[in-house]
């Protein structure tokens, strides 16, 4: 692999889009442990480090727990840090994810959504990332390889602004191993957008401080309050980062994105790559005269509850497509959306669909089936399994 010319269009996989994003963000420390389907992300980054394309320290470690621990150390000294993982690798990091967030370190990570075992699977679903919902990491679900690259860059901007870590999430294989054209932005433009990381506090022998000390009950809660406030601020910062990104690069994504939602009687809510296929289906249904639209949830943490409320409250029915399952409750996006709408005066009925677990394909006809079901039923149901063999 020769050093890359930026400012060009290339056909690259989602995994390599992540690598290019990290390269353009000028990350300084990378630590990672290989796991399918993520491995190609850090493989290309290690090549960039070896051939001088990227001036970063690449730390090889014996586990994902150590990878995150290494980044916590590096980020504490003020370095811009990056890692990528999937499924069991992310699960193994769990303790350190809490630590990164509590220590207010703006680490950015790519999680390639892979179903959890057992039974073993390498295919996509969202249970790995959603299991980390309450660790204090921001979570952004991507739909295309371009969005993946752009989100890496935006994530550093927001994470460093609010001092919280950020995880961008992409579907195994459907993005990670799929090659499509993307624009690789000019390095000078990325530098203009993303200045070097300057932390308020850092580990520095010339300015000694103590980090991670015991916090008795009279201060702990205040620190948790500040973390929550930072997440609230992050809602504004994501919007601002996206706006400024669009001014420089001509692309924007929003925290959520309504698609053909005006006057829709049914709104389908999606995240990840399903959104892309659903756009095609919505266009077909609109052409048939049916009043259906789409709402893509991109930023999941912090949850843009007000935006979701405004987008959904005037529709007649909502169908949420979850590629995940909280056993004993249902689809996780559906729960979040119900929760966001409950205190609203206008609450459309919400149908919760679970589909595509463990990489089962979500085809246009699966999406049609979900919309047909919602259209033909009056009473909402909390959990409808799509295509499951009983």
């Amino acid at each position: 692999m020769t050093p890359t010319l930026t400012g060009t269009k290339k056909v690259v996989t989602g995994n390599h889009a992540v690598s290019y994003g990290a390269m353009l963000a000028r990350v300084q420390v990378i630590s990672a442990y290989p796991i399918t389907p993520q491995t190609q992300v850090v493989e290309l980054l290690s090549e960039f480090c070896a051939n001088g394309t990227l001036r970063a320290k690449f730390i090889k470690v014996e586990s994902e727990h150590s990878a995150m621990a290494a980044l916590i150390g590096a980020a504490s000294t003020g370095a811009r840090t990056f890692t990528a993982t999937s499924a069991h690798g992310l699960a193994l990091m769990h303790e350190m994810l809490h630590w990164a967030a509590g220590a207010r370190l703006p680490i950015v990570m790519a999680d390639i959504n892979r179903a959890m075992g057992p039974p073993w699977s390498v295919w996509t679903d969202q249970n790995d990332s959603l299991s980390q919902r309450d660790t204090g990491w921001m979570q952004v679900y991507c739909e295309s390889n371009q969005e993946v690259l752009d989100t890496v860059i935006q994530a550093y901007r927001v994470a460093e602004k609010v001092s919280m870590p950020a995880m961008l999430v992409l579907d195994a294989f459907v993005l990670s191993h799929t090659a499509e054209p993307i624009e690789i932005p000019d390095q000078s433009l990325v530098d203009e957008y993303l200045p070097p990381y300057r932390p308020l506090y850092k580990l520095d022998p010339n300015d000694p401080r103590s980090f991670g000390a015991l916090a008795p009950p009279d201060v702990y809660m205040e620190l948790r309050y500040k973390m929550h406030q930072a997440m609230e601020d992050a809602l504004i910062e994501w919007a601002r980062a996206d706006e400024e990104f669009s001014e420089l690069f001509g692309r924007r994504y929003g925290l959520i994105e309504p698609y053909r939602a005006d006057d829709a009687e049914i709104l389908l809510v999606t995240s990840g790559t399903v959104t892309s296929t659903a756009r095609e289906v919505i266009d077909e249904l609109r052409a048939e005269g049916r009043r259906v639209g789409l709402l893509k949830i991109r930023v999941f943490r912090p949850f843009p509850a007000q935006l979701v409320r405004a987008a959904l409250q005037d529709t007649e029915k909502v169908a949420v497509l979850d590629r995940n399952i909280s056993f004993g409750m249902g689809g996780i996006f559906a729960q979040e959306i119900k929760s966001a709408l409950y205190n609203s005066t206008k609450r459309p009925p919400i149908f919760g669909f679970v589909a595509g677990l463990g990489g089962r394909d979500i085809t246009p006809s699966v999406i049609r089936e979900i919309i047909d079901y919602t259209e033909s039923h009056d009473e909402p149901e909390d959990l409808i399994w799509v295509g499951v063999k009983r």
Binding site: K9, K10, V11, T36, V122, W123, A172, F173, V174, L175, H177, T178, A179, E180, P181, T273, V274, S276, T277, R279, E280, G359, D361, I362, T363, P364
Partner: protein, 192 residues
Amino acid sequence: MIEVRFHGRGGQGAVVASEILATALFKEGKFVQAFPAFGVERRGAPVMAFLRFDGAPIRRRSQIYEPDHVVVLDPTLLLAVDVTAGLKPHGTILINSEAPPESFSALNRFVVATVPAGEIAVAHGLGTRTNPIVNTAILGAFARLTGFVSLETLLEAMAEKLPERQRERNQAAARAAYEAVTIAAALERSIR
């Protein structure tokens, strides 16, 4: 939208072939999407790779079940897997084989074409007689068969995707296969 499925064996370069073809089509202004069969690969086991291309942005991200064209990198796969599964009526099948297309009588409801990609690959120093690397040769034949992309653009895409020391041999093999493809005579006119 046109959809293509590649059948190969792990290690033969079917995935790289789909990415080279995608790059070439992209260079000629098409929107493209190339992906492997999702899963784990083993050397020698049957594998698949896929390609979509269109004049408009491609939003569909489900898998390909009804391809317009099929490319078979290893003729022994015809005994192991149903390479015609879902293939559209009058779809084309390009097979790496020294035999004439008419000898594949079981496939006669499709447009069959053959190219001795294994021989060509070995003649150009790509792999060995028992394990020839045919992915670039067969792309040359595919370009000729379908006319979707020019040979020149295909060679440019190879220059972009392949390490420098492998470039010339692969490009020469693609060029040779471009000249060597044989299309079943009775069906030649029906290719779209």
